[in-house]
């Protein structure tokens, strides 16, 4: 058990792609075992927030503290080793690798990652197709593979970007079950999500983003009271 109850703390984070200033002073935190979502319209800076945490943006300033370690000046390849697992929006399955190679690709960042057997049990489709080319899988299977490979690495803080996008309802439901299971195991999850009906019931807290700012923080118990407000922000 980690002594840091606070797994992720971000203070005054600014991020830039070339000349464009995308994030304008983000402040947020995620506690151990929490499932927190970033809500907002397209282009509000949610994906950029995840990418900035992984040091995948052009330039960033402010403070990003992971598990008690300041990472704002840390090279990109060292960040994962603090226990982070990142699942990009485009899923990032490698076409030159088969399913099993994709699964085994990310190096272990902590010692207690899930075993390949456990993951195949959780996602039986992946086992059946383990020798197929990674990108030959269906969208849902690719998403499961993208999730499975960071679970194998032992990451205990997951940054997940739009994992339900474009997937069939039955698969979305399966992913929801998986997230609940991971939360029960004590994993910390930061989820960028468009599908509020998916994220609403399973999340502990929500941050709402607009134009690179966090404009609202909503706890699960306030959700009903603030639905109206949320709908204005999300434009639904």
């Amino acid at each position: 058990m980690s002594t840091h109850r606070e797994k992720l703390r971000i203070d005054d984070l600014h991020a830039f792609y070339g000349e464009s200033h995308i994030l304008h002073g983000i402040d947020m935190h995620v506690m151990q075992g929490e499932l927190v979502t970033l809500l907002g319209r397209n282009g509000s800076g949610r994906s950029t927030t995840l990418r900035a945490i992984m040091n995948m943006v052009g330039r960033r300033s402010g403070s990003i503290n992971i598990n008690g370690t300041e990472t704002i000046n840390m090279p990109a390849h060292k960040i994962a080793h603090l226990g982070l697992g990142y699942c990009p929006e485009e899923r990032g399955i490698f076409s030159s690798l088969n399913v099993e190679e994709n699964l085994l690709l990310p190096p272990s960042v902590r010692s207690d990652g899930m075993s390949v057997e456990e993951l195949y049990e959780m996602f039986p489709n992946l086992y059946e197709r383990r020798y197929s080319q990674g990108t030959r899988l269906s969208g849902g299977e690719q998403q499961m593979l993208a999730l499975a490979r960071i679970l194998r690495s032992g990451a205990n803080i997951l940054l997940l970007d739009e994992i339900t996008e474009g997937l069939a309802p039955v698969i979305v439901q399966k992913l929801g079950e998986v997230l609940v299971k991971l939360k029960e195991r004590g994993l910390t999850i930061l989820l960028v999500e468009q599908n509020f009906r998916f994220a609403g019931p399973i999340a502990d807290r929500h941050y709402v983003m607009e134009h690179g700012h966090i404009v609202e923080e909503i706890h699960a118990h306030e959700l009903e009271a603030k639905t109206e407000l949320l709908n204005t922000y999300l434009g639904v």
Partner: protein, 295 residues
């Protein structure tokens, strides 16, 4: 004279052997180029100069330090690989974010510089390096005489190329390389030190050219322009095989050597151009190359 259907078999097999020898060098050099291009998207014009550097290094090591062929076979590729590592780290990386044309020009300039330095110091006439004692014999086959050293080159080249292919296509390290080629940023996010892999890969690709140089020293004369003469052909081979395709570079290298050898026998006038002819035909019919993935 042994003939079959009017073909002089001694001559034919002789040219086939020469073709296989040339093909062995083509394969080693184009393999190095393909690895570097695949991962870094850099067209390394210095690959020929590195091959020349390997041959000179073997010659110098023997001449001044008494390092024999077998030791040179290990030491020289490492040394040339180190030159590659330094070159990537201090010359290529600073311009890695610029257009690839810059790195192409840089490696081209680097090659000219190396060639100039060696021409200045050792002249352009070429130096000789004797075949190692153990490989001076030969075997008499039904249709030809096979010198041991030539047999050794073909075997060594096939083994080295095969091992490299296996390493890239079948091992975990190779999976890093292939994945790093596709999406380096995501690999970094997984915690893999991609810049380090890039540097080592460049060193490895260049080291292969150094190895080819050592192997070439005893049969071709060691001269400053030996690399530049070969490089254009090797580029054609990489294009025929498919840019960045590892297996394609190896098979095309050997195959083009053989085709060149056969042309030398049947129509010698075309032997210098046949590879380019094949390149034109392949580009017209399959622009991505024989083994390349269609974009």
């Amino acid at each position: 004279m042994v003939t079959f259907l009017g073909i002089n078999l001694f001559g034919l097999f002789g040219q086939l052997l020469v073709g296989l020898i040339n093909g062995s060098f083509y394969a080693l050099l184009s393999l190095g180029l393909a690895i570097i291009f695949g991962l870094l998207k850099i067209i390394n014009f210095a690959q020929g100069a590195m091959y020349m550097l390997g041959a000179f290094a073997a010659w110098l090591a023997l001449q001044y330090m008494g390092i024999n062929y077998w030791a040179a076979l290990i030491i020289v590729p490492l040394a040339v690989g180190l030159v590659g590592v330094l070159m990537e780290r201090f010359l290529i990386r600073p311009i890695a974010n610029e257009d690839h044309l810059y790195s192409l020009l840089l490696t081209f300039g680097f090659a000219l510089m190396l060639q100039g330095i060696f021409t200045h110091m050792y002249g352009s006439s070429g130096l000789s390096y004797s075949i190692p004692e153990a490989l001076r014999g030969g075997t008499k086959l039904p249709f030809m005489y096979l010198p041991d050293y030539r047999a050794w080159i073909i075997c060594a080249s096939v083994v080295v190329c095969g091992l490299t292919w296996w390493m890239i296509e079948k091992t975990k390290l190779g999976a890093y390389l292939r994945a790093g080629t596709e999406n380096p940023q995501l690999m970094q996010a997984f915690g893999i030190n991609v810049p380090l892999i890039v540097t080592l890969t460049f060193g490895f690709g260049v080291g292969l050219a150094g190895l080819a140089g050592v192997m070439a020293a005893p049969i071709y004369s060691v001269s400053p322009d030996m690399g530049s003469n070969l490089l254009i052909v090797v580029f054609a081979i990489v294009v025929i095989g498919g840019m960045g395709s590892i297996g394609g570079a190896i098979l095309t290298g050997l195959g083009m050597g053989v085709i060149e050898g056969l042309t030398k026998y049947f129509y010698p006038e075309a032997s210098n151009t046949v590879i380019f002819l094949v390149m034109v035909i392949v580009l017209l019919l399959k622009p991505a190359g024989l083994f390349g993935k269609e974009a």
